[in-house]
């Protein structure tokens, strides 16, 4: 099963839930945690894996052979990202705008364009106890997270229970991280901010036809809006984690909830069982 832990709003506790879920599964078959928040990966801070491999993520960008180029502009007209431009007898490539789609190479009538890999980040793999760990890291100044997320997801081991820590937001990096999952667990907080972004995340999960359930973090603060919304939309609330200064302090120190408060272990095992039931029922 592939389980995506998402939220819409940042800082609601995705990484806290994803890491504790992974640890509570230890001893029950292989488990893999993929941190797809490649802009700001944090799961390694809580799991402290031993990293055993590191590979660059390369996006293919065009290289123009000026000997062959006739400056016909077919490439620049075909590129929807304005990543290649012809100015007189000069071809300019803007690598940071290039999506690596390969259209310019294909359309060039002179076969003057080849592709070279441009590093936009890295994928690192290792182990944290029984958890197989993978994360990606977007390079500083790079705009496009999806190629790094795709590279992380290529490491998915289908024989494991796979837990994906999804980036915040609601746009293309989230789609890239969530698509192909069997279930989407949405972590929220019971405030109007949490509710607003939860509703957007639910809309996205539904567009992707992925069943979802909710974890309410910092329960006891804010208001009842999230619970009313979930009841009205028939979205199951699978776990509530109370607003507890001790939990916040554990997180500050980089400790997982199940390691710092072992009594939580059973709650996360139960959460996973509920998810397994729902993922089967809804598929």
């Amino acid at each position: 099963m592939i389980l995506a832990v998402a939220s819409g709003k940042g800082g609601t506790g995705k990484t806290l839930v994803a890491t504790s879920l992974a640890l509570s599964l230890a001893g029950q078959g292989p488990v893999q945690l993929l941190d797809c928040d490649v802009e700001e990966p944090n799961a390694h801070i809580l799991l402290r894996p031993t990293i055993t491999s590191s590979r660059p993520v390369l996006v293919p960008v065009p290289r123009v052979d000026e000997e062959k180029c006739t400056y016909c502009r077919v490439c620049s007209e075909a590129c929807p990202y304005k990543a290649i431009a012809v100015m007189g007898k000069n071809v300019l490539v803007f690598p940071e705008l290039c999506h690596g789609c390969g259209v310019c190479t294909y359309v060039c009538p002179e076969k003057a364009i080849s592709e070279e890999g441009r590093e936009v980040g890295v994928v690192e793999e290792g182990r944290a106890g029984e958890v197989q760990f993978v994360h990606g890291r977007l390079a500083i100044g790079e705009a496009m997270a999806p190629p790094v997320i795709r590279a992380v997801k290529q490491r998915i081991d289908r024989s494991s229970t796979v837990i994906i820590d999804v980036p915040p937001g609601n746009s293309c990096p989230v789609v890239e991280a969530v698509k192909g999952s069997d279930f989407c667990l949405l972590v929220t907080e019971p405030t109007p901010f949490g509710l607003h972004d939860l509703a957007l995340a639910v809309e996205l999960a539904r567009k992707l036809a992925i069943p979802c359930g909710v974890v309410i973090n910092r329960d006891g603060s804010g208001d009842q809006g999230v619970e009313f919304y979930c009841a009205q939309q028939h979205i199951p609330v699978l776990l509530k984690i109370p607003l507890d200064r001790r939990i916040a302090e554990l997180y500050c120190r980089g400790q997982t909830l199940v390691a710092g408060m072992p009594s939580w272990r059973s709650a996360f095992s139960d959460l996973l069982q509920s998810i397994q039931r729902l993922a089967v029922v809804e598929r």
Partner: protein
């Protein structure tokens, strides 16, 4: 005119709470929400929408099943795995048009997508430019650029002293679009190891784009040792810490009431927000 953008790296550290309070404290400014995919500032500022504009994003491919012969050339060409069973998944399609170029039957057309909306609104704190990107859409950076451009126009017309922007989390496309050309980046951090890791990355992005930074430590008393670590780190990097805001449930109470926290109570959180605004104003 000074453009102040509030960032954090890590999400949920309190960017919108800070911007909400600074909105109430700063005079003569235009407000801007650059977090277009999960915008929250309107929940604090309670705007009245004055103008609504459409935002058209990247085109996506559509395959005409009547014309398609199922030759499979498009499947091989697409590098985004956006074509399954000769249908294009619009959420995966990046609009490159490779399928259109390779299709021998001209079965592919590129169609415009309405990717979201942007708004010009009135609030009791001044004009607000904000947006809503459709679920799962691309081009959040372009929508941020549209929103910022409009905020600049309004600020120019009204002779505003500041543009105050609530930024998105992360360090990628919409952050770069929010940050480029800004006069000051206010980074809201918190004393968790995760937030410190993310702070270092977002400060590196600020340096990369040559934007000055000022740091604010929110919920600093959740871990005073980590807060000291942030202060030491900033000192060494030559970055000022503008204010340290304590953890207080008054913040979530204010969010629930839909008002800036400085209007909700006059405790320590409010006083520190005032200090923070002084620190921002002194650097603008």
């Amino acid at each position: 005119m000074n453009e102040i953008v509030v960032l954090s790296g890590k999400g949920g550290t309190g960017k919108t709470v800070v911007v909400g309070s600074l909105s109430a404290l700063a005079k003569n400014k235009v407000l801007c929400d650059c977090d277009v995919d999960a915008a929250n500032l309107h929940l604090v500022l309670q705007p009245t929408v004055r103008e609504t504009h459409e935002f058209w994003g990247q085109k996506v491919a559509v395959i005409d099943r009547e014309v398609c012969t199922g030759c499979g050339l498009c499947l091989d060409a697409c590098r985004f795995d956006a074509i399954q069973e000769f249908q294009v998944d619009p959420l995966s399609c990046e609009g490159c048009g490779f399928c259109l170029h390779v299709c021998p039957e001209q079965a592919v057309t590129m169609v415009d997508t309405l990717a979201g909306h942007w708004y010009v609104s009135d609030t009791r704190f001044g004009p607000l430019v904000h947006a809503r990107l459709g679920a799962g859409q691309e081009n959040s950076g372009k929508l941020v650029a549209v929103v910022r451009q409009k905020a600049r126009e309004i600020a120019k017309d009204e002779g505003s002293a500041y543009i105050l922007s609530d930024g998105p989390p992360g360090i990628g496309c919409p952050v770069i679009s929010s940050l480029s050309g800004a006069s000051l980046a206010l980074i809201v951090s918190e004393p968790s190891l995760s937030a410190i890791h993310d702070l270092e990355r977002v400060l590196a992005v600020c340096r990369h784009f040559g934007v000055r930074a000022l740091v604010c430590i929110n919920k600093y008393d959740l871990d005073e040792e980590n807060s000291r670590h942030i202060e030491d780190y900033c000192r060494q990097a030559g970055i000022d810490v503008g204010a340290k805001i304590p953890f207080d449930t008054v913040v979530s109470d204010a969010i629930t009431q839909g008002v800036p926290v400085v209007e909700f109570g006059d405790g320590m959180v409010s006083r520190r927000m005032e200090e923070l605004w002084s620190a921002v104003a002194a650097r603008s």
